[in-house]
Amino acid sequence: MVSPFWDRAFRLFAWGCSLVLMGTFLIIIGFLCIKGYTALNLRLIFGDTGFWDAVVLRRQVFDGLFPAMAGTLCLILLSVVLAVPLGLSTGIFLAEYASPRVKWFFSFVFDILAGIPSIVVGLFGFSITLFLHQSFFDRLYPCLLISALSLAFLVLPYMIRTTQMALESLPASLRLTAPSLGATQLQSIVYVLLPAALSTILSGIILSIGRCAEDTAVIMLTGAVATAGIPRSVFSSFEALPFYIYYISSQYADHSELINGYGACLVLIFICMNLFVLSHFLKKRLSQKLLFRH
């Protein structure tokens, strides 16, 4: 039996670890806040250009984060449009149509996909661009489309896994209800199962959005640059917030640029936290809905 000494030691250890973790995290956030709070104003985002001029794209923003934020936004939209339908369909197939052996095999493949480092996905995207450039499309360079495609590959396993898990964890009685009323498998999926799993799937989409917003390794190989303005088309290079932060960390010209870097960190953290909170509350809403009994 565990003696009181070990009991106390164990508890102390757990408390200690928690304090170390929390402390480190607070130090990091605190450090960023202290160094960056002076940068937190509209100038950080819009530079010398006025708010409205920038937002309606009348004038270019040179010194601010706006192009990077716009770039990140376009990236997210494009990646999500590519990854969500594919991931959703695959997840539906695995959860509803695949036999156990088929399911095992594909799950293994997608686990591998999920484990591939982001830089390798970026390398793949870059190499594809190279290959296409040399063979068919000599006007194709790393661009928004390639980055979005590569990011879609990155978040695809999350979408698949979330959809599959959301559908598989629906109560067994719900699965039999629609078929017992004469629904075909497709009708059961579309009218009953997907609506019931929607909140979880949505939170998975939000997670994927977060992943796209924060990734740097993929985009630095496939089209992100330091200065490009608002992306003109899907075939142009673009700026992105995380890349800006990376770039500034080694290429800052003076103190104020560094301060802007800290400010950018705070903005990025803010965006990611909001996405996280949204995803968290969506998941909570689902568990409340499922537990709703009279």
Binding site: S173, L176, A178, S180, L181, G182, T184, Y191, V192, H294
Partner: protein, 232 residues
Amino acid sequence: MQPKIKIAGLDFYYNGRPVLENICMEAFENTITAVTGPSGQGKSSLLIAVNRLWESIEGARVKGDIQIRFGQTFQNIYDPGFRVPELRKKVGMVFQMPNPLPMSIYKNIVFPLKLTGGHKKKDAAFRVETALKRSFLWEEVKDRLNEDARSLSGGQQQRLCIARALILNPEVLLLDEPTASLDDTSGRMIESLLLEVKKSCTLLLVSHYLDQVKRIADKGMRLSRGQITQAW
């Protein structure tokens, strides 16, 4: 009395283990045929063999012949060309635990109509009302059809499920211990509504309440270890 359902040589395996062996029986039109016996002996499996719901359950396997008379002729529901969704529109099912879908009362009842498509809104409202009246639920919910079905009491939910199963006017209704999760009063209400329903339908009722069976069943049989041991 004409036979409605003819079952011959039915075997049911679950994960390789035999659950039903060589079941042969007949159910007659407009009667309540009861299936009784101790738990876990295959009563529910017999029901899901009749509407082929076992095909949605992993590990279940069925062999045998089930013929149901639709109109004048018997059709073997295990014929290769037989369309299963069509079968389930003529053979309804009510489960032991009420399973309202996560939607409003109205949408629950109208759901089978939505699956078949091609119904008009006015027509639907009338059919919903009829179905709810048949299951003795109309008076209690007519003013709150848009409320979530899960806000109803257990007995009401079960009557909702019965109404939902009745809206397509099935010729056969399968009931798997429909009153097991309810109190006495709700149970009795359902028993009286089943007596009304049988006038236009053939009922197959699984129940382990012997007094319930005595009250409402016309014919019955006892299943023990996957075989019929008694029939009356």
